[in-house]
Subunit: 139 residues, 4 copies
Amino acid sequence: MYNHISSYRVRYADVDQMGYMYYGNYPRLYEIGRVEALRALGVRYRDMEESGVWMPVYENNSRYIRPAQYDELLEINCKLETLPGTRIIFTSEIRNEEHVLIHVGRTTLVFLDEATRKVISCPPMILEKLQPYFSCDTG
Amino acid sequence: MYNHISSYRVRYADVDQMGYMYYGNYPRLYEIGRVEALRALGVRYRDMEESGVWMPVYENNSRYIRPAQYDELLEINCKLETLPGTRIIFTSEIRNEEHVLIHVGRTTLVFLDEATRKVISCPPMILEKLQPYFSCDTG
Amino acid sequence: MYNHISSYRVRYADVDQMGYMYYGNYPRLYEIGRVEALRALGVRYRDMEESGVWMPVYENNSRYIRPAQYDELLEINCKLETLPGTRIIFTSEIRNEEHVLIHVGRTTLVFLDEATRKVISCPPMILEKLQPYFSCDTG
Amino acid sequence: MYNHISSYRVRYADVDQMGYMYYGNYPRLYEIGRVEALRALGVRYRDMEESGVWMPVYENNSRYIRPAQYDELLEINCKLETLPGTRIIFTSEIRNEEHVLIHVGRTTLVFLDEATRKVISCPPMILEKLQPYFSCDTG
């Protein structure tokens, strides 16, 4: 498994009139989580895109456990639990300032060749960097 | 079943640098779909909130079939397939200008008493209006 | 002068914890106002962009007179008070359900050649359509 | 003068199909700049709001000099050039990764008593903390 933790401060822009972060703003947090998880691995999404590989979202599941409130400093724990093939699945666990799990997102993206708009396999530049986190000791 | 169709024009504000509507903007469309579906039924969400009943989102699942593009006039078909209890489930089918299904969202909300912050049953003001759409002819 | 009126329903996504539309959401309303003003004139911004002319924003001034509230149906009166040259200035007057002026935005955009990224003059396709609204009767 | 520098990474959520940060997303950056400027001073906006003082925006002027691009790490230099009275004026200078000034925002907010919804003077809790930065040596 590979994981990376980012933080996010809830802004006035994010909060609705219940005083909660609007439910539609969580995907922005998942984006931050996965882009920073890739950056920590040495992969910049902007470089990948410039090399002609896009990563559109295929599916997303969100579970709202407790609300996030204005000005809270959230923790985004972005996890990759399986090696990507033609799809890559990021799980985002979001915790509040008291380290309580308040939200879980599970986002599946595909790799797309910009030129042909066809689904392709995970580029070697990502796969090679992930491999060490997924190798198993077999004795 | 109860359903209602709304329309949504994709704005520059919504589109990312792939030229697609950003994946995090779909929840805004589901919101429009369900609020207008309730309004068509004679229930204004703002009145419900003023009466002390909140409807926070509990769960959301999104399936991205094809991208929505700038300036497209989308159709949001919001469906209620079961009568609400303590939860209400809206399915949003989004179609593009060619009437092709491009996206499906499934959003579960709960009814919350603002004062106690406890989950309650669907208020009668909604239930009574929905009942006619769910009565079955048994002969 | 040329003007066009659009409407906009304030969404939960737009409102902050004061119960007011977040100050940063008004530019989305100006965008709707000016794109629909151009469409009513027979000019689709998406066609212009496809023909290689971009209209990035150069300057924006916003005056917040009264708050817009959740679920209000706002009126956006988008005005062009002068014929565009290399710049085009849209004034957006926003009124609430009681027809009270609550907000004024003034947005200046430039015309940009996508290929050279140089500022150019207003394309004839817009200018010709606007001319009738600005011709003066001199006897 | 009092100033404080924050940083902001441009996200996919922020960028439009020109590949530029959408013009309507800059107010979010000003918000981050001024809230962090106040926090660095020892004032948390959330505490102020809980004490019954709101700060709605009264006016905003934005100058777009150069575009901000996806994944750039921007610098937000938030300046207070005069001591607040019933209004407080924040100037946000935004620079890109090459330290080039790309954007200037000037946001005027008022202090509002939540209970009466009347404009009030800047609360002492802010004024006292700012005073040292504005005292002049007179010999």
